[in-house]
């Protein structure tokens, strides 16, 4: 494995273990501040410094990872499942069903994803999970497009025809041959979309549409720290760094998945 890819997996592994067991990695609380320790710069006691309420930034980031990761996970799963299903139906049905579904997808694609996500949140209400669902719905169109193209490519291959030629029923051929062979590039997109989803959820958090304070969600951390950016840069810098590293890592992993499927 190339070193960049190893590093990417290490970054993801750290982020995931933070999300699973945050208390193993820090003794500080993610939400309760220490009096008299406000806005301290990075030091041996507080590696990433503290914020305006005296909360340890490293602890905030560690406790926040679960929000970003689970949010992205929900968003990507939703997009992947709904999008692939839509694409599979469109790619394997009669032309008029295909046309109908794809025009719907075109409409989804024509709305800017952030605007679409904001509208969905306004309907569903605020919160981490709702933000994740909104981001997921906004990504359904991309998955559907790709899945349909793959399904159509695979459906016209000799081995699919041979499978129905040896007596396979329509649905079983779809399930046994078309779906598994269409999935590899869809999965690569999912990995790519994972990074995009983290970014989108952080954006919604930053705009105040995601988790309410004092949840240490990464986007919200940046939003809260931005008031002190000229005097206490570390409050915005480290959450930003965490987002950048995780997104870069997922992109690199996605690239390797795509390379393998090609």
């Amino acid at each position: 494995m190339p070193p960049g890819l190893v590093l990417s997996w290490v970054v993801i592994a750290i982020a995931v273990s933070w999300a699973m067991a945050p208390h193993w990695f820090t003794d500080y609380s993610g939400t309760i501040g220490l009096s008299g320790q406000q806005r301290l710069p990075p030091s041996a006691t507080h590696f990433f410094g503290t914020d305006e309420l005296g909360r340890d930034m490293l602890a905030r980031i560690i406790y926040g990872s679960v929000h970003s990761l689970s949010g992205a996970f929900v968003a990507v799963s939703l997009g992947l499942l709904a999008g692939t299903l839509l694409g599979l139906i469109a790619g394997s049905s009669r032309p008029w069903i295909d046309d109908l579904l794809m025009r719907f997808v075109d409409i989804l694609l024509s709305i800017p994803p952030l605007l679409l996500a904001l509208s969905i949140i306004i309907v569903l209400g605020f919160g981490t999970i709702n933000a994740a669902i909104a981001v997921g719905v906004a990504s359904v169109a991309r998955f559907a497009r790709l899945a349909r193209a793959e399904v159509i490519r695979v459906r016209h291959s000799d081995y699919v025809e041979a499978a129905s030629g040896s007596g396979g029923r329509y649905l079983s051929v779809l399930w046994r041959h078309v779906l598994p062979n269409s999935l590899s590039s869809v999965i690569a997109l999912a990995a790519l979309q994972f990074g995009t989803a983290i970014l989108a959820i952080a954006t919604l958090g930053f705009l105040g549409y995601g988790a309410p304070p004092p949840t240490p969600e990464w986007g919200l951390l940046i939003a809260e720290g931005r008031r002190y950016i000229s005097t206490a840069w570390w409050i915005t810098f480290f959450p930003g760094l965490a987002i950048v590293l995780v997104v870069l890592a997922t992109n690199r992993i996605s690239q390797s998945l795509r390379g393998r499927s090609a």
Partner: protein, 553 residues
């Protein structure tokens, strides 16, 4: 070879102990091992080998076109006495096109689709310093006429997609000979073309060689083509020269066992017939009756339609093999796909084993699959890359009424054994099998549900000759043992002659001639059939080794 050094002085090109390797995932492995050969001016030397023998790699190295991961490890390539093996791209530019040129394998992808033919042929003159546009166009038109392009002024302003495969190959030859090079490398120049076109292209290369005195290195997998055209043969296997010498010597007296196998396996109109005629069955009803079958393709939005199959009729008695032959576009593939029901006929009637295919739908159609099976041309595309061989073979059984697990296992093993594959193959995936092994798996999958009729759509065309011969023997044996009826679609008349009882010759969707294979092939009634037969490379009569002794002029 002791004579190499002495020869190098007079020969145009001499290759001396050339070793070439590729780097893959950090490993270096040699694909050409210490190959030595030489070509003198005006000579045709054929480099013959199966896929993977390193023949294309060798050809690429001669003009500095090895892929980035390829490297010449040792040895020398002397062109006019100068060693060009270590040359960089800039130095190669001085001889590429002017001294050595290449006719590529696939004319379909070798021309730039967005430039006109005139511009692409003119480019070679431009690159080599002919600035005057008017004179350049003049030269291009002359050249196009010389390589037999019909209506050169029209073609001059056309784009590649408006030309047929044969015409494109002529244009590529025009580019290759534009500057009268001393050496022409033709890398499988006719593999992608129909047989009749193939013959014309090879004739053209022959003519040009005689006229200009150009030496030709003909890279081919087809021993028949090589034997017809070359003065000397170099037989390559796994990157090593098995044997080389004059064509007549090698054909009459092959010293290497591999050459002997190649000779025996190469289908030609002279090889002995494998097929024993089927015994007449008491069963009067034929396996397949096709009556006046028409299949049209409608062109998307316009009302225009194209008749791919235009009123064909034939019957296939039980236990016999019927061949459909014709060039690409003759409608033979459309005909078999209609026969298995993947396409609906526009009109006409098809009876398969007494069943009218048009009357079937849904479940009865699914049951109909047990009667008739199709084996595809390309075994790399017809097997699901994600399944294991065991899964591939079990699947057809699972599609019909449940069979007990142990019985299923027994049947899978039996069929695997029957097509000559080891049981260890069961756990493997198609990608770890060779082309021949994959085609065996495809045949096993077709046979496992015990059909009565098997359609073979160019089922051996994608395979190397030795493998092709093995698969043909297998197909023959299976017919004898299981009493199968075959419809064998092929463009290769030499193969058809070996295995078919009856044959229909298709042209532009119509059957122009049909009858018992022996009669049609020995007394063709139509010019087109004669042309197809003439185009088959290799010796034309039995006892090939004796007759092939005639030295090519």
């Amino acid at each position: 070879m002791n004579g190499t050094v002495a020869q190098a002085v007079q020969s145009l090109l001499s290759i001396d102990a050339l070793t070439i390797s590729y780097e893959q995932r950090g490993h270096r492995h040699s694909v050409v091992h210490e190959v030595s050969l030489s070509i003198t001016a005006g000579q045709v030397v054929a480099l013959v080998g199966e896929s993977g023998s390193g023949k294309s790699t060798l050809a690429q190295s001669l003009i500095g076109l090895l892929p980035d991961n390829g490297r010449i490890d040792s040895g020398a390539i002397r062109f006019n006495g100068i060693n060009i093996a270590a040359w960089n791209q800039r130095r190669f530019d001085t001889i590429r096109g002017s001294k050595i040129s290449l006719v590529p394998q696939d004319p379909g992808v070798s021309l730039n689709p967005v430039r006109t033919i005139g511009a692409q042929v003119g480019e070679i003159f431009q690159l080599h310093g002919l600035r005057d546009r008017h004179e350049r166009d003049e030269r291009v038109l002359d050249l196009l006429a010389r390589v037999g392009v019909s209506d050169p002024t029209l073609r001059f302003s056309q784009y590649p997609h408006e030309l047929s495969g044969g015409l494109k190959q002529r244009v590529l030859i025009a580019i290759a000979i534009a500057l009268r090079p001393q050496l022409l490398i033709a890398d499988e120049p006719t593999t992608a073309l129909d047989v009749t076109v193939q013959k014309r292209i090879l004739d053209l290369i022959d003519d040009l060689r005689r006229e200009y005195g150009t030496a030709v290195l003909l890279v081919t997998h087809d021993l028949g083509v090589a034997a017809d055209r070359a003065d000397r043969l170099v037989i390559l296997k796994s990157g090593r020269v098995q044997e080389q010498g004059t064509t007549a010597d090698i054909l009459s007296n092959p010293r290497s066992g591999y050459t002997a196998t190649l000779l025996a396996d190469a289908p030609s109109l002279a090889t002995t017939i494998l097929h024993r005629p089927a015994p007449p069955t008491s069963d009067a009803q034929p396996a397949i009756i096709v009556e006046d079958l028409v299949r049209e393709y409608r062109d998307g939005r316009s009302a225009a339609c194209f008749r791919a199959v235009d009123g064909i009729s034939f019957t296939v008695p039980k236990g016999t093999t019927h061949a459909l032959v014709g060039e690409s576009g003759s409608g033979k593939t459309t005909a078999v796909r209609t026969l298995v029901g993947f396409l609906k006929p526009t009109s006409g009637r098809i009876l398969v084993d007494g069943l009218d295919v048009a009357s079937l739908d849904g479940e009865s159609f699914r049951q109909f699959r047990r009667t008739i099976q199709l084996v595809y041309q390309n075994p790399f595309a017809s097997l699901d890359p994600r399944q294991t061989i065991a899964e591939i073979l079990n699947e057809p059984l699972l599609n019909f009424e449940p069979i007990e697990r142990r019985e299923r296992k027994r049947r899978v093993r039996a069929i695997l054994d029957r097509v000559g594959l080891p049981t260890t193959a069961l756990e493997r995936q198609p990608r770890s099998l060779s082309g021949g092994q994959r085609q065996r798996v495809a045949i096993a999958r077709a046979l496992i549900i015990e059909p009565k009729i098997v359609l073979l759509d160019e089922a051996v065309s994608a395979l190397d000759v030795t493998v092709q011969a093995q698969i043909l023997t297998l197909i023959e044996d299976l017919q004898r043992e299981l009493g199968l009826t075959y419809v064998f679609v092929s463009h290769d008349l030499a193969v058809v002659r070996q295995i078919a009882d009856t044959v229909s010759v298709l042209r532009q969707g119509r059957i122009i001639e049909s009858g018992p294979t022996a009669t049609v092939f020995s007394h063709p009634a139509q010019d087109y059939t004669r042309e197809l037969l003439d185009a088959v490379p290799g010796p034309r009569h039995p006892h090939p080794l004796k007759l092939a002794r005639k030295v090519p002029s």
